[in-house]
């Protein structure tokens, strides 16, 4: 029968030679490979003292953006949650009351917005699904914890601060083509 791939190997019960049977040369050979790596370039770095350089489109912890006037962009449309392959996102929507126009941009907003960072696979599908440019993945890293519960990130940790100086910059993630596309007057409603 012809093998489907060339990766299969035919097992043989061939008798080992004398050199193979004493094992010592194989051990020396193995040790040599191990010791050689002591002097090579290290594959690891001393995190967190040192950090690696991230790609511009690195997909780390999410941020929920605010618009220029400091209102939350998210309108709890649920498209991120339905796009999420890991089902990490849940939300509860609420209606904006009069007087809250400076807090939320649309009639409806997310009262609760939770991402389970243990389930999240950082694929960026939520970012892609979002019609309101509200959710972005950033180059920040989800911090490690000793328990599971703190990994469920609520709005307190996802929404960016109102203060313009503390905003999370995501401009590097948007390519020239995207920015050019947004210049179009027809998309002014999404400002």
């Amino acid at each position: 029968m012809q093998a489907l791939t060339n990766r299969s190997k035919i097992a043989s019960n061939k008798k080992m030679s004398f050199m193979e049977r004493i094992y010592f040369p194989a051990i020396v050979k193995g040790m040599f490979i191990t010791i050689r790596h002591f002097f090579g370039k290290k594959a690891t770095i001393n995190y967190p003292e040192q950090t690696r350089e991230f790609s511009q489109i690195y997909r780390g912890m999410h941020v929920l953006k605010r618009d220029d006037e400091g209102r939350e962009r998210c309108t709890a449309c649920g498209l991120c949650a339905v796009a999420c392959p890991a089902e990490a996102i849940t939300m509860v929507a609420a209606e904006r009351k009069s007087g809250e126009e400076n807090l939320y941009r649309e009639e409806k907003y997310a009262e609760v917005y939770e991402i389970n960072m243990l389930r999240c696979i950082f694929c960026g599908d939520c970012e892609e699904a979002c019609p309101k440019e509200a959710i972005f993945l950033t180059d920040r890293i989800v911090e490690s914890e000793y328990e599971r519960l703190p990994f469920i990130y609520g709005k307190d940790r996802l929404v960016e601060p109102v203060d313009l100086n503390l905003r999370i910059d995501i401009s590097a993630r948007q390519t020239e083509n995207v920015l050019k596309f947004k210049q179009n007057k027809r998309f002014a409603h999404n400002k």
């Binding site: 309108t75 449309c77 498209l79 209606e95 649309e106 009639e107 027809r186």
Partner: protein
């Protein structure tokens, strides 16, 4: 009843004389059925307003084989023996449908992320199938503030496409209509006499009949997107109506009660407001089982569990 032969998109079908082209196409089913935004088989006199169901009649009848000069609304045009109709096989019809979709969307706010109808909206489906990727107009859209008509129904006039279905529901199902279309031309709007409440036992059917999100259920307002809820067929003994409904559940909670819609988005039976708004407890209903939903419907998305 005499039968007449009609050919729609090269498929021949025999229907009773007096049937409209749309209903003849529905008899064939599948892709040849023209979309309908205003026609509603259960409402007398509906249809002819939205123009999405325009088709081309390539041959008027066997006796008079001349084509009809213009595209005709299939919901209002009666078939004749030997008629040849083109729907999806005619590029002219497809182009007209695209233009009509654009026309219906001229004043539509496209606020689908906010709208409760998203996911089961005929206009959303229509624009997904025939709409343009962007709009050609830069003019301001006309805007209205959402108003309450009655304590259970919210009216978003922005989203309305003036199909008159809700007006017909009030005329034909209830004994007193207090809402209607005011104004003319571009100023048309659905409204009541100075926000007079619509409180009739069957007024809630307006919500189901509305092809867009103009009339929405206030008891379900922003509770959940439709695709996060699971539909179940259920019934109860109701003194006013048949009591056959669909429960939209999230976990153990009944978030919304609607009538049962067929594949053309039309209610099988109208239900009363008592069933729709007042009974949201588990014990009120006898659940028959999960409702069959179309394979490609967004409502079936992400429901991996059995």
């Amino acid at each position: 009843m005499s039968l007449v032969k009609v050919t729609i998109d090269e498929i021949e079908v025999e229907v009773e004389a007096g049937t409209t082209i749309l209903n003849a196409a529905r008899k064939i089913g599948g892709n040849v059925v023209p979309p309908a935004m205003c026609y509603y088989s259960k409402l007398e006199g509906s249809g002819g307003k939205c123009r999405t169901c325009l088709v081309k009649v390539a041959q008027g009848s066997a006796k008079d084989p001349r084509p009809m000069p213009k595209l005709v609304p299939s919901c209002r045009t009666v078939v004749q023996n030997g008629m040849v109709v083109q729907n999806i096989t005619s590029p002219e019809v497809m182009e007209a449908r695209k233009a009509i979709t654009e026309f219906l969307l001229i004043n539509h706010p496209l606020d689908c992320p906010v709208c409760d109808q998203a996911g089961e909206c005929s206009l959303q489906d229509l624009s997904y199938a025939h709409g343009l990727a962007d709009t050609q107009t830069i003019e301001e859209r006309r805007t209205f503030a959402p108003i309450d008509i009655g304590d259970k129904i919210k009216l978003h006039m922005n989203r309305c496409i003036l199909c008159y279905r809700c007006v017909m529901v009030a005329d034909q199902l209830t004994d007193q209509r207090v809402h209607g279309v005011l104004g003319r031309g571009d100023h048309c709007e659905i409204s009541t006499y100075i926000t007079k409440a619509v409180d009739n036992d069957f007024s809630g059917n307006m919500i189901d009949v509305c092809p867009v999100g103009a009339l929405t259920d206030k008891t379900f307002r922003f509770k959940s997107r439709v695709w996060f809820t699971k539909p179940f067929d259920a019934h109860r003994d109701c003194p006013k109506c048949s009591g056959k409904v669909v429960l939209w559940m999230k976990g153990e909670e009944i978030l919304r009660v609607t009538g049962r819609k067929d594949k053309y988005g039309e209610l099988e039976v109208f239900i009363c407001n008592d069933c729709r708004f007042e009974h949201k407890e588990d014990k009120d209903w006898e659940v028959e089982g999960p409702r069959k939903i179309e394979r490609h419907s967004v409502i079936g998305q992400n429901h991996y569990e059995k």
